[in-house]
Amino acid sequence: MAQLLFNGLVTGLLIALPALSLSLTFSVLRFANYAIGAQITLGAYAVYLFNVPLGWPLLLSTAAGMVLAVAVGLLVQALAYEPLRARSSVTRLVASIGVALALENVVRFFAGNSPRGYGVEIARPLRIAGLRINQEQITIMLSVLVALVLVWVVFRFTRLGRAMRAVADDADLAAVRGIRRGRVVAMVWVLASALATLAGVLIGLDATLDPQMGWNYVLPVFTAAILGGIANPMAAVAGALTLGIASELATLVMAPHYRAIVAFLVMAVLLLVRPSGLFGKQWVAK
């Protein structure tokens, strides 16, 4: 039982980063970014590129991979989303599925379909207080927590974070007060791509890399974000943890490969009962 809860916590933390990224883009840009899965995949492979073919250590590769993924994120924003800025959010939604398809297949083109892994030693799991804890799980917990704290600090205490919150609240009012939307949007993509990359690396460490890896996370990530109230970035983290634990506990009654179905059921019930999310109050679009 404790083991299940612990595993659920780790699963939840893995979902937390992309869920945060998703609700960040949603709250500032007002569209659901379906390319989040492809961004995870792209980030994971960008890190792989530095880690295995070039032989850099994983930490350095992660940093380099983030830079690469951020560059791609900004490029996509400039090429795809910026021209669609004045159009309806549904148009950008559909565009993001196109972006997802394009990014995922860039990865397929260069890396092929077979699964890969990072160049890390396989370590023996630790046993602490009766819990079986993998080295990867510790890495996941620490990195996610550090990333979350960093994002929280940026969001809460910096000028940039205040600008982001202002644009998210009311873009026109923010513009009147002299906040440059372009810069804020660019920073949102920088953060969102970096978070997706980190998630990709951690998912790759936890399992393997394959071009589908990110796509498989789209459903849980969206569920977590909706659970938290989609326009509320920090609540998305709480949503992710709830979902992670729920899906691990569900393995008591369902086969483990049906985790996605748990996510779907959670989402269905939630949308019927409390569409504003567990923690959100505003922004229920009708």
Binding site: A100, L101, A255, H257, K286
Partner: protein, 299 residues
Amino acid sequence: MISYLIATSALVIIAAIAGLALNLQWGLGGLVNFGLFGFYMLGAYVCGLFSVWGAPPLVAMAGAIVLVALASAATSLISIRLSEDYLAIVTLGFAECLKLFISYEEWLTRGTLGIPGIVRPFAAYVPQGYGDAAFLGFAVLCLVVVFAVFERVARSPFGRLLRASREDPAVADTLGKNVLVLRLKTFALGGAALGIAGSLHAFYYTYIDPTQFGTIITAYAFMAVVIGGRGSNVGVLIASFTVIALLEGSRFLIDVFPVLDGSQLAALRLFLVGAGLVAILIFKPDGLVREYRLRATRS
């Protein structure tokens, strides 16, 4: 060469029917169905299973149409009162879960082994060697029926109401129209067409397994609607028979570019679909053909 043409045409016709279904749901109704491939897959599996259990092909197809329509209506109910963002993720969730279910519930669907030996309609009356040609004829017939029905729907008061609720659900609501029921019907009607498309898929290949179904089916349908022009059934047909025919035809380019292997070529094709979708949204947002009654007023 002939068999190659027949193969491409059959796939294009199936894609066109899926495109028409999406055009009703999204083009006319503004309801984003990202899980289109799930409903299509459900249609193929219901039809395939009924057929393997001994039902005549047309009965199996009718079963698929009814069940997919019901499943569409039920799925849309979950979120249909919220904005499009939610409907998109709910339909996608349905599709992904259905694919998981079909891949693992081997007692019902034989899992990844797939279902072989699906019988095509009128197979007993077709002389040996003309099976594909006869199938093509049947598929064309289905396409004509779906097109005729949807074109009627688009020009009927129901279609007008649908366009009105797409532009502003609150206005339609205020005028005493029940938007929820309207959207439910739209989703069910589109689902029926997806049941037809899925059945044709099962009949064409006579063998189905979960790997045949994926986001690419959804992406093709969106391509067809976006290129053709949202809301225009004629546009969807034109888009299907040009762009999707080209994309499908490019499967066979492998002989021309020996440098790239098969999976790279597939990746390249899907990349083009994705990038193309974005490009059309940016540069040709109205598509090829205007929606019925959506014309600039002449002064």
